[in-house]
Symmetry: C2
Subunit: 545 residues, 2 copies
């Protein structure tokens, strides 16, 4: 029998970078097409976030070159605020480091893993570092080759250069193996198109292999308002978070800790809390808050009436902006952009669903054979979600909709794009790959309602179209009839020219058509036409009588 | 405009524990039932692995008590080798630390996250540490309360006690919130039943809430052979791993590095490699191996003929053991356990698929209403996979089988259990929750073949059953006919007793039935019976003639 000491001789600690090297599929590095899209996604997302923080209208360029042996060179450059040289290593070569993880505000990136994951992926598939160039607009430029020491999760910069020059932004260039460029639904160009759709303030240009170039011009010069850090709402806080925050607080009393660190906590609310917890000393130091007390407090929070959490921190794209983007990129025949109020999930996390449906034009998806079909495009905080559609609340909500009811029985063969953007300070992703939103009830319901609102408008449009179509068909049928009738009448009566008769009949039909062609049947119109002819012939005398 | 320095003022580093606190769903802590099952899974898996390493027949006890407010107390105890006191904290209170992560051998646990994840979950849902008691069989016992410092991913032990006593093993006791006991398909009792099925050498007892107690007795006293660390096969190595290994090697030459660190690399193979890479100095120091050279080398490996990787490190359950377990727990009417050879995926990773199908008895699953249905139970290295069935290669392979062909048209309503155990040193899980196997082609194909082998045997059994069923029905019909015929004949002839005639007829039918009842039609038998009666009556004289 082996004893514990022998067994535990091999005990070691590992770095998070090693963990994700072994589990790279968790970061989206699974499959050649997906890996390449993941790389572009991580860099473009970072660029958009950085521009937003810097209050800059983004200008982003993505270049992809295919090399031999399933390798691609990717270059992403932006005009963002840049990264201070001393932090470049940590920002792009160290996992779980960054500005975003701990802040309660709405951003695309959340975890400080993505860009470093790309650096790691370059390393393990080509052995090469990525190349970084950045300037913060101060006349200094910094460049380096960057790798991650996977054993320690520390950045390893090399060939560092500091020189003078006029550049603000970030350029990342890397060579990645096990990566393939694909023009399909999961490929880079679709990803960029979708990004452009949700970011009308950004100019994004894409140069693919074979010099194929697409530019998605800026549809709006309005810089989206900067995301704000907000205080958590008492209803959204768990006992654990409350204790954790209290024990790290520098406030002198629990009362001030609560009013300073939570939204909607007024002194009146503090008094209400005091009356709900009469045996508890609410004036004690935050550091002394016990779990049981915190638990009682979160329960008391649930019993109190609160003003809903502030939705100031939510940064929707906005109805106007979505309209501009849809027009700009899909040029649809009809579109409707919904307009919903923010909601709350888990009691205290504000979120909002922006939904739109575009019909006709370049809406929908196209297969390689050119067939058109309905397409559901998903976003979380404006970042497109391309993969894991099956496990996503947006797909689930869309599948729960009875499309037949809304004249979209043939959804899968119609030129329709359903656009859904989930906006929240905290997006409950189902995995580190950040490609699907968890199907919590409040979220599912709200997405469904938002899409159905658009469906109703599309239904009216499609019904209208159907009606116009029917009218046109009727009119055509009548016109053919009119021509024949005019000829016959002219011949029979021997009086009046066919053209004159026809002209009168047409006028009659047109007038009738405008007024109530819907109700009028072909027979009625024919009857009236005959009567008109009768009157006309009566005027000139008639052989028939 | 905000500049880079302002933006990056908030730059911070975070711990992996903080990451998984925010992304606990990635560890399986999503939903109350699943969270509880995850806790039991992590502890039981650790116990089984520890016993295997200690070459001990496992005796595992799981107790669950329901407390107020969706809380459960869980106690898991084993008779394993125990943990040396100085490592208890790191083993159960620090993520990415352990004995398993870096070793190339087959174990249930792989990542050094699970048990610490449970400690974290107790903390964030109840504020309480878990309690640990362990002895390594040396007459000393160690106990402590253990928490994780989430900010630093360091263990925080408290109330440590060291005392004398006779105990070997590990007892973990914790109180967990947001957890619920459920008797269904995803609950703890189903999980334990499945674990027992795949571990016939383990005795597992389970005491649920309400004193409900189930014991799965040991079905076999054979301790599974200890898993072994194996050397990687040249075909399974990536350029990155090759460089990484070479740069950490203490061998003096690349040649010895290759023969010492890889399986199947003989001096003859080294010479072959030398001839394939004539411009390359294969005698240089491993630390000097360049990426391009390593890449050329991995390409050369692909061109060479290799003996397949050793499958010695694979630890299947074994045909006999699976049979014993199925009999013990499902008591089926029929079962077939396949017997497949090990295979290789990604060129160099050995794996093996053990499949079995049981029919009748307690096979299949039962709904709350008592309805029976076919059930596919999935394992990876003997650990049951309860969740994420949709994304798993085993489910995908099973869905690709045409069950109709094998007389299992009504699979969903039949008492059938399909058992699949995926055995490998490296299980390609789709996520950190370790609930689904990635659908790589070689894996999919092999699972399908393994299950189909069982299907064919089940088909024969079911056909046989159907035939027996048909025969029985025929026989019954004939027997009813015989009785009536005997009476009629006795009455008509007035000679012979009905009983005697019937006896003769029955003998005739039984004989006939044994020989070729399948071919014989009711009419034929009736005809023969009449002839027999004729003969019998002739013997005694007959009124009819």
């Amino acid at each position: 029998m082996a004893n514990a000491d022998t067994i535990f001789k091999q005990f070691r600690e590992h770095s998070v970078a090693e963990f994700f090297r072994k589990n790279r599929q968790m970061l989206g590095f699974a499959g050649k097409t997906r890996s390449l899209t993941t790389i572009v996604h991580e860099y473009v997302t970072n660029s958009l976030d950085a521009c937003e923080e810097g209050v800059i209208l983004p200008d982003i360029e993505v270049k992809i070159e295919e090399l031999e042996g399933d390798r691609c060179r990717v270059v992403v450059s932006d005009n963002g605020p840049g990264i201070p040289p001393k932090l470049v290593g940590k920002a792009l070569g160290m996992m779980l480091a960054g500005t975003k993880f701990h802040r309660y505000m709405q951003q695309r990136g959340q975890q400080g893993i993505g860009a470093t994951g790309c650096t790691m992926f370059a390393q393990i598939t080509t052995g090469k570092p990525v190349h970084i160039k950045t300037g913060t607009g101060t006349g200094k430029i910094y460049e380096c080759d960057l790798a991650v020491d996977l054993k320690t999760n520390r950045p390893v910069p090399a060939n560092e250069k500091n020189y003078d020059g006029d550049f603000r932004g970030l350029v990342v260039e890397g060579e990645f193996g096990e990566a393939k460029y694909d023009k399909g639904e999961y490929g880079v160009s679709e990803y960029i198109k979708r990004t452009a759709l949700a970011n009308p303030h950004a100019q994004i240009s894409f140069t693919g292999p074979g010099a194929e170039k697409v530019v998605f011009p800026r549809a709006s010069d309005k810089i989206p308002p900067k995301a704000e850090e907000i205080l958590p709402h008492p209803l959204g806080i768990s006992t654990h978070e409350l204790v954790d925050m209290a024990h790290h607080s520098e406030d002198r009393k629990l009362t001030s800790f609560l009013t300073n660190n939570f939204s909607r906590v007024s002194s009146a609310k503090i008094e209400e809390l005091r009356s709900l917890m009469p045996n508890f000393d609410i004036d004690k130091k935050p550091g002394e808050l016990q779990w049981a007390e915190a638990e009682e407090m979160t329960k008391a929070f649930q019993k109190m009436k609160w003003i809903s959490p502030s939705t100031d921190a939510l940064r929707p794209i906005g109805k106007d902006q979505i309209e501009k983007a849809l027009l700009n990129i899909l040029n649809p025949e009809f579109m409707y952009v919904g307009d919903r109020r923010p909601k709350v999930f888990r009691g205290g996390v504000p979120f909002m669903v922006e939904a739109a449906i575009a019909h006709g034009g370049n809406s929908g998806r196209r297969t390689a054979e050119g067939a058109v079909g309905g397409s559901i495009i998903r976003y979380a905080n404006r970042a497109p979600l391309l993969f894991d559609a099956g496990g996503c609340a947006i797909t689930e909500a869309a599948n729960a909709i009875d499309w037949n009811r809304y004249e979209m029985r043939d959804f899968d063969a119609m030129p329709i794009t359903v656009f859904v953007n989930f906006v929240s300070v905290h997006v409950p992703y189902t995995g580190a790959g950040k490609q699907a939103i968890s199907d919590e009830d409040e979220i599912l319901d709200e997405i469904k309602l938002a899409v159905m609102e658009c469906c109703r408008e599309v239904q009216l449009h499609l019904r209208g179209k159907a009606r116009v179509g029917e009218r046109e068909a009727k009119k055509k049928a009548i016109m053919r009839y009119v021509e024949q009738l005019a000829k016959d009448l002219a011949e029979l009566s021997g009086k009046g020219k066919a053209e004159d008769i026809q002209k009168k009949l047409v006028e009659l039909v047109e007038g009738k058509y405008k007024k109530h062609i819907e109700e009028a049947s072909l027979e009625e119109i024919a009857g009236e036409a005959a009567a008109a002819e009768h009157a006309a012939s009566g005027e000139n005398g008639s052989d028939e009588e």
